[in-house]
């Protein structure tokens, strides 16, 4: 569902692509676009969970650390010789458990989401480091690595996973009672509670969803790197928040779409890729990305104020 507000970001993405195409002909080639899609997929997946949490009026700073922890769990299981489905299930369970603990701390414990997930960010990272003694777990068989190296037609597997996550999550967010409650809780938690909705339970589920989706990203990342690293996923939370807010989701909660988040993630990915092609130093890139994040939200805020 693309509303008028997202048109701004879509136009922004189009303009960005046009400029980069004009500056460097190499930008608009099939291989480069697929490359962008593949590079974007991990951040785009993590941003799905972040979008759920932010629409519900919260924030999740622990997604990057959960990516590392779930990845390490997966790597250890695979290396010990567990069958692939069991290892995948264990990774997903680890991510979901961390997320639900976040949710319980917020909804039952009454902690601000910022604090609860900040704690989890540190604790989950620490657990991954302790468990691996700081060393990466590397070398998996091809049956697992196909999640990164394989493709359906010309579409690389990580992009396929990303598309699947977006389709499923979009259906959940727009077509289920759970999705409806995500918006309702973010829009007015007290009114939702007085309507008889089990707000605590659903908040726990929302953070659990974010943990689950972070674990999906961890699986793709581990396959791509052919290595599970306890220091993986650093700063992923910031990229995911950036993609979400560029996509028009309000940090105040109550509104936002996954289509917007996908466009937001693509803007970040295209920008990084384009700046690389143009040979802009990685130091300078950080400045440009910072400016883009702030101006995207600034434009959005001004448009909204204009409409009121």
């Amino acid at each position: 569902m693309l509303r008028a507000r997202q048109f701004g970001t879509v136009i922004g993405l189009a303009v960005l692509c046009a400029v980069l195409w004009a500056l460097t002909p190499h930008f608009l080639t099939v291989s480069n676009l697929l490359n962008i899609a593949q590079q974007t997929s991990i951040n785009a997946i993590v941003a799905v969970g972040m979008t759920f949490v932010i629409i519900s009026g919260g924030i999740d700073l622990s997604v990057g650390s959960i990516v590392a922890l779930a990845g390490v769990a997966l790597g250890a299981m695979l290396q010990t010789g567990y069958p692939l489905p069991v290892a995948l299930a264990a990774a997903l369970a680890a991510g979901t458990a961390c997320g639900m603990l976040n949710g319980a701390l917020v909804s039952v414990g009454g902690l601000p989401p910022f604090i609860a997930t900040l704690g989890m960010m540190s604790a989950a990272r620490g657990t991954a480091l302790v468990f691996t003694e700081g060393r990466p777990i590397s070398g998996f068989d091809d049956g697992f690595r196909v999640l990164a190296t394989g493709s359906i037609g010309f579409v690389p597997a990580p992009v396929v996973v990303m598309i699947l996550v977006y389709v499923v999550a979009h259906i959940v967010l727009t077509r289920t009672t759970f999705g409806r409650y995500v918006y309702a809780i973010g829009g007015n938690e007290e009114a939702t509670r007085l309507s008889g909705v089990a707000v605590r339970f659903h908040k726990t589920l929302i953070y659990g969803t974010s943990g689950l989706i972070s674990a999906v990203a961890a699986i793709v990342l581990t396959a791509r790197l052919n290595s599970a690293q306890p220091i993986a996923g650093m700063m992923y939370e910031l990229d995911a928040i950036a993609a979400t807010v560029i996509g028009g989701t309000s940090l105040m909660g109550g509104q936002g779409t996954l289509a917007g988040t996908l466009v937001g993630a693509l803007i970040m990915g295209v920008l990084r890729n384009g700046l690389n092609l143009l040979g802009v130093s990685s130091f300078l890139q950080q400045i440009v990305i910072g400016v883009v994040i702030v101006s995207a939200v600034l434009v959005d805020t001004m448009l909204k104020r204009h409409k009121e």
């Binding site: 077509r175 289920t176 009672t177 759970f178 409806r180 409650y181 918006y183 309702a184 829009g187 007015n188 007290e190 009114a191 939702t192 509670r193 007085l194 309507s195 008889g196 909705v197 089990a198 109550g254 509104q255």
Partner: protein, 506 residues
């Protein structure tokens, strides 16, 4: 009180309208130096609006204001401050973790240049000010260690300070809005001693209260507002308590309350000795099928607290609730909803609606489980669910419009509609017609009739006495967390209900 010099304040023909209501219609108020002027009126009579115009929080639509005989134009709170007008609101605006001195001089602390606070002068100025006012407080005490009454003293000192010297009294007009509502009787004595000291120094005080005993203890004159009009200004030596109550209440009870009474049926709800610490105590009553039980009381009497406890929004800590013959314990609103209780909350924006969602999605919010198939909402099911409710209640909107775009009356209908499609048999309506236009009001009254005719029971809380008298079968009057009196529809008059609400009758 000398009348030879010009009055400290003259407000003439003040008028203020908000969309849909005229809050003030030609109100006059004159204050002399050294006078305590009591301002009386029911909730919504216009007292606060008048004071907000004086303090620059609102702008008047018409009328004139003179201070010490000079025409003034109060455009902002800053203008009012410059004219020596100070307001002490019911909610204190203090920072708990700063000291008494820092709170009093917040934003105006003496500095030694570059924003470095001159602590010695700050504490010195504070001591002098507290001394002048006869307040026994240490300037360095953190505010959170003080009692509520002491905090109020700090608020008064803050209002009266002269930022440049720290002492003296630049305030000429002091407005106090129900300053004693949270004080013990000894603390009240201390406050009144302070007021006596202030008026001796030439300050004029506007004192808003619901406690009629206070009116006679410290007031010189009294003005009574009713429905935004000024009904009287009198010397207190010339008016009795009974006359004051009549002045506040006397309104035409028109026949626009189309209550159709039905014979009450089986008991739906019984409340026995219900209590909640600091809010409610010893509440007992019952509600029968086909009945409207009205609950009257002033702000803070515990009416909304009772509504929230009965709807499972807050928990009780004493007594019990019997619903359809069974003892029930509500831990969440969902528990109450399962027992067929629907709440229309007092503040529809904060508690009733999710403003960003559509009409249909708000209406469907309590019914998600019923509408969904295995958690999935079939396409358009909420709109189909909402359509008949929207039509039935004549909500002037389509199901797909966000509710924030609707008028107050239509929003209220959406909150009502949330419970109409369910199994609710017990409705708790907390101020159902507040901020609603006349047409929608009448529609809500008709809806109440329809619900009771079909066997539902309604608890209606309202600050509008004529509405309460016109629509209720019985009226419970609450005062300070208790049920003070109960009247049948035949026995209830505005004077009797208001006297009980003011705590006079018993």
């Amino acid at each position: 009180m000398t009348t030879a010099e010009p009055p400290v304040l003259e407000m003439r023909g003040i008028r203020k309208a908000f969309p849909g209501v005229v809050a003030l219609d030609g109100v006059d108020l004159t204050l002399h130096a050294g006078e305590v002027h009591m301002l009386l009126g029911e909730n919504g009579a216009g007292k606060s609006t008048l004071m907000k115009i004086l303090s620059g929080a609102y702008r008047k639509d018409a009328g004139e204001i003179r201070v010490l005989g000079r025409d003034v134009d109060i455009q902002s709170p800053r203008d009012a401050l410059a004219l020596g007008i100070r307001v002490i609101y019911q909610e204190l605006n203090l920072v708990p973790h700063l000291s008494v001195a820092e709170n009093i001089f917040l934003g105006a602390a003496p500095t030694r240049g570059l924003g470095v606070i001159d602590w010695r002068r700050l504490f010195g100025n504070t001591s002098r000010l507290l001394n002048d006012l006869g307040m026994d407080l240490a300037p360095a005490t953190p505010l959170h260690r003080l009692s509520l009454a002491q905090r109020q003293m700090v608020e008064i000192a803050k209002a009266l300070k002269d930022p440049s010297t720290g002492s003296g009294q630049v305030a000429k007009i002091l407005v106090m809005d129900e300053p004693t509502s949270a004080l013990t009787s000894r603390e009240v004595d201390r406050l009144f001693a302070l007021i006596a000291r202030l008026i001796a120094g030439g300050v004029a005080i506007v004192y808003i209260t619901h406690r009629l005993d206070e009116v006679y203890r410290i007031g010189h004159r009294v003005s009574v507002l009713r429905d935004g009009r000024q009904v009287a200004t009198k010397r207190l030596s010339e008016v009795t308590v009974a006359e004051l109550v009549r002045l506040m209440a006397n309104r035409e009870v028109g026949d626009h309350f189309p209550r159709q009474r039905t014979a009450p049926g089986a008991e739906l709800l019984r409340v026995e000795q219900l209590g909640r610490r600091g809010a409610l105590s010893d509440i007992s009553f019952s509600l029968r099928s086909g009945e409207v039980v009205g609950i009257a009381g002033l702000l803070g009497a515990g009416r909304s607290e009772l509504a929230r406890v009965l709807a499972g929004a807050d928990r009780s800590d004493a007594g019990r609730v019997v619903c359809h013959g069974q003892i029930v314990k509500f831990r969440t609103p969902a528990d109450a909803i399962r027992q067929g209780i629907g709440l229309l909350p007092e503040d529809r924006k904060a508690e009733g609606l999710v403003a960003g969602l559509t009409v249909a999605r708000n209406l469907a919010l309590p019914h998600g489980r019923k509408l969904a198939r295995a958690g999935f909402l079939p396409r358009g099911c909420e709109e189909r669910f909402a359509e008949p409710i929207v039509k039935d209640l004549r909500v002037k909107a389509t199901p797909t419009q966000p509710v924030r775009l609707l008028s107050g009356g239509n929003q209220q209908k959406v909150v009502l509609g949330k419970w109409l499609a369910g199994d609710a048999r017990i409705f708790i309506f907390d101020e159902p017609t507040r901020g609603v236009d006349v047409g929608a009001k009448v529609e809500i009254y008709h809806l109440i009739n329809r619900l009771t005719a079909s066997g539902a029971g309604i608890i209606m809380i309202s600050s509008e006495l004529p509405e309460l008298l016109g629509m209720s079968d019985r009226i419970l009057v609450m005062c300070r967390g208790r049920i003070q009196a109960e009247f049948s529809a035949a026995d209830a008059t505005q004077e009797r209900v208001l006297s009980a609400a003011l705590g006079l009758a018993c």
